[in-house]
């Protein structure tokens, strides 16, 4: 019989949450503005793009892969959906659909290269990162796309929850996290992703089509980046060809800080939300303290190494 102890999350899952609490406590003492509803709503708005990219990135990292192209694909999606709406007057729903198709298409390309030609995900996505960036610049002529229809930026609007203004995009991000969490936990397809990351050979021998699982993961990740494009457009109000450059590595940072193992097969997608919040809280808190942005980058770097080191050491300890 399962004992009650197994329903309590382990230290590994609680670690990121504790880190977030400690960071929040620290910044609350440093700045009076930090611990306010308005500031937390702002943090959530600041992380919604990275948060959505991190969902896709989590799926890929769970299969022991990595996607370096995520931010660039997101930027391309944003440019495509805004430019077709702006240049050809396409209805927003169609323009958004086209953007999602492009980002999912990049996911498919990554997935095919990983599963069919059996190239390492690191190399594949390093290549597609540059390709996506170049296409973004060429297609947009490195120009920001403005004058967008209001419905494309709707997710950037806010509603009042008590005293606090909450963006619709924040809600969408949280809904996406809830759905992907349930999907990964409760469905056969979700468990197969973990199985592939844990032991690909054993998984293949049980008859699970591992290549199809991996391909599906890259396409779904592409779709997540597409939704992130929409959030980025909504938040900034423009199609920005230079978007996604900090989000690219921030998304990987969020996943790793959230406790998902870079070796695959272990992790919880909600951890990536916590991870994204840790990154967001540090950025926001250090800004409120008046610390230069260079130090924010420095601290993010240290956090990533700490998180990966913890992952590595806990795996060794588990043997």
């Amino acid at each position: 019989m399962p004992s009650w102890k197994e329903h309590i999350p382990s230290i590994g899952t609680l670690g990121p949450f504790l880190a977030l609490l400690i960071a929040c406590t620290f910044f609350s003492f440093q700045s009076e503005q930090f611990f306010t509803g308005a500031n937390f709503s702002l943090i959530l708005q600041q992380i919604m793009v990275v948060g959505l990219i991190a969902i896709g990135q989590t799926l890929i990292i769970l299969t022991a892969g990595i996607d370096l192209s995520c931010g660039m694909v997101m930027a391309l999606g944003g440019v495509v959906m805004t430019k077709v709406a702006h240049d050809f007057g396409l209805p927003p729903s169609l323009a958004i659909g086209l953007g999602l198709t492009v980002t999912a298409g990049f996911g498919l390309l990554n997935g095919l290269l990983v599963t069919r030609i059996k190239l390492p995900p690191f190399i594949v996505t390093l290549g597609t990162m540059n390709i996506a960036f170049a296409i973004t610049q060429l297609y947009s002529g490195s120009q920001t796309i403005t004058d967008l229809p209001a419905s494309m930026t709707f997710l950037g609007n806010t509603f009042n929850l008590g005293q606090t203004q909450v963006a619709y995009g924040t809600v969408l991000m949280l809904v996406c996290y809830a759905l992907s969490w349930i999907w990964l936990r409760e469905t056969a397809a979700g468990r197969h992703i973990y199985a592939v990351g844990n032991n690909p050979e054993a998984t293949r021998l049980t008859g699970i089509p591992t290549h199809r699982v991996i391909l599906m993961v890259y396409v779904l990740a592409g779709l997540c980046y597409g939704v992130a494009s929409l959030l980025s457009v909504a938040r900034t109000g423009v199609g920005d060809p230079n978007a996604g450059q900090t989000e690219n590595l921030d998304a990987i940072t969020a996943v790793v800080l959230g406790g998902t193992s870079l070796f695959g097969g272990r992790g919880v997608v909600l951890g990536s939300l916590i991870g994204a919040m840790i990154v967001g809280v540090f950025r926001n808190g250090l800004t409120l303290m008046g610390v230069s942005s260079v130090y924010q980058i420095l601290i993010t770097g240290i956090l990533v190494i700490l998180a990966v080191a913890t992952d590595q050491l806990s795996r060794k300890g588990g043997r």
Binding site: M1, N199, A202, T203, L205, T206
Partner: protein, 268 residues
């Protein structure tokens, strides 16, 4: 060298005739025969390079022989992959503990054959975790594997218990045969004995077992018959009750020629 057919009371579950497998210059299988009967534990022994693992790979679908025939319950079969063999009811437990370490015992037992819920949620791929959990508990009890909780990760188990999970999974889904490749090799004495007991339980539930092992005491402890592979062929099928370990080793190494083997050593 074939056993006297008139003595074969029990039906053949797997029969292979004249299997040949070449890798360039190397002949791994040189006309190997194989017979597994219902309800028995058949040990396969042989020196390195005797064609023991090629034989097992051919039976489990990991390689396709260049020529020769394999019959499963009298039907001719030709497996292109381990998945095909598995679908036909032949389950293989691999040496390297083929489990997903971070996943639970129940998840490992049902991997690739998950039970879905009924209705709309089921068609969306939602799992009936409760049923899988209960089935796992019942199943592990039936095989007398003493593990308390099916929701603990496999990596928290000892090597023997992990092997127990792998064997239980194979036995749960095999319809015809369970093949075990060195299931006790990585284990200590106590754990090894636990796995032997488990193999007996599997046979007593009616599934024949093919056991590949280097461990002679283990082979003599549980095998009903011993298939000796040598030079890519079957040298003999020995009766462990009629011979000593050194006799078996003599046949295995070629110190005793197949034609010189006394008839009373042979298994019928």
């Amino acid at each position: 060298m074939s056993p006297h057919p008139e003595h074969n009371a029990l039906p053949l579950v797997i029969q292979a005739k004249g299997l040949v497998k070449r890798y360039g210059q190397v002949t791994a299988l040189d006309g190997a025969d194989f017979e597994l009967r219902a309800g028995e534990i058949l040990a396969v022994i042989g020196d390195n390079g005797a064609g023991k693992s090629s034989l097992i790979k051919a039976l489990s679908g990991a390689i396709t022989p260049d020529s020769g025939d394999i019959f499963l319950d009298g039907q001719s079969v030709c497996f292109k992959s381990p998945i095909e063999a598995r679908r036909a009811g032949i389950e293989t437990v691999y040496q390297d503990l083929a489990v997903a370490p971070a996943m639970t015992i129940a998840e490992n037992l049902f991997m690739g054959r998950e039970i879905r819920r009924t209705g709309l949620l089921g068609s969306l791929g939602f799992l009936d975790k409760k049923r899988m959990l209960n089935d796992s508990i019942a199943y592990m009890q039936e095989l007398k594997i003493g593990i308390r909780s099916m929701t603990q990760a496999v990596e928290t188990l000892s090597g023997g218990q992990r092997q127990g999970v792998a064997v239980a999974r194979a036995a749960a889904f095999a319809r015809h045969v369970v093949i075990m490749d060195e299931p006790t090799a990585a284990l200590g004495v106590k754990e090894g004995n636990m796995v032997l007991e488990l193999i007996r339980n599997v046979r007593d539930r009616g599934l024949p077992v093919v056991l590949i092992s280097h461990n002679m005491p283990h082979v003599f402890e549980i095998a009903d018959r011993i298939h000796v592979a040598r030079l890519g062929r079957r040298a003999a099928v020995l009766n462990p009750k009629a011979i000593t370990m050194s006799d078996a080793v003599a046949v295995m190494t070629g110190a005793m020629k197949p034609e010189d083997i006394p008839t009373e050593w042979l298994a019928h």
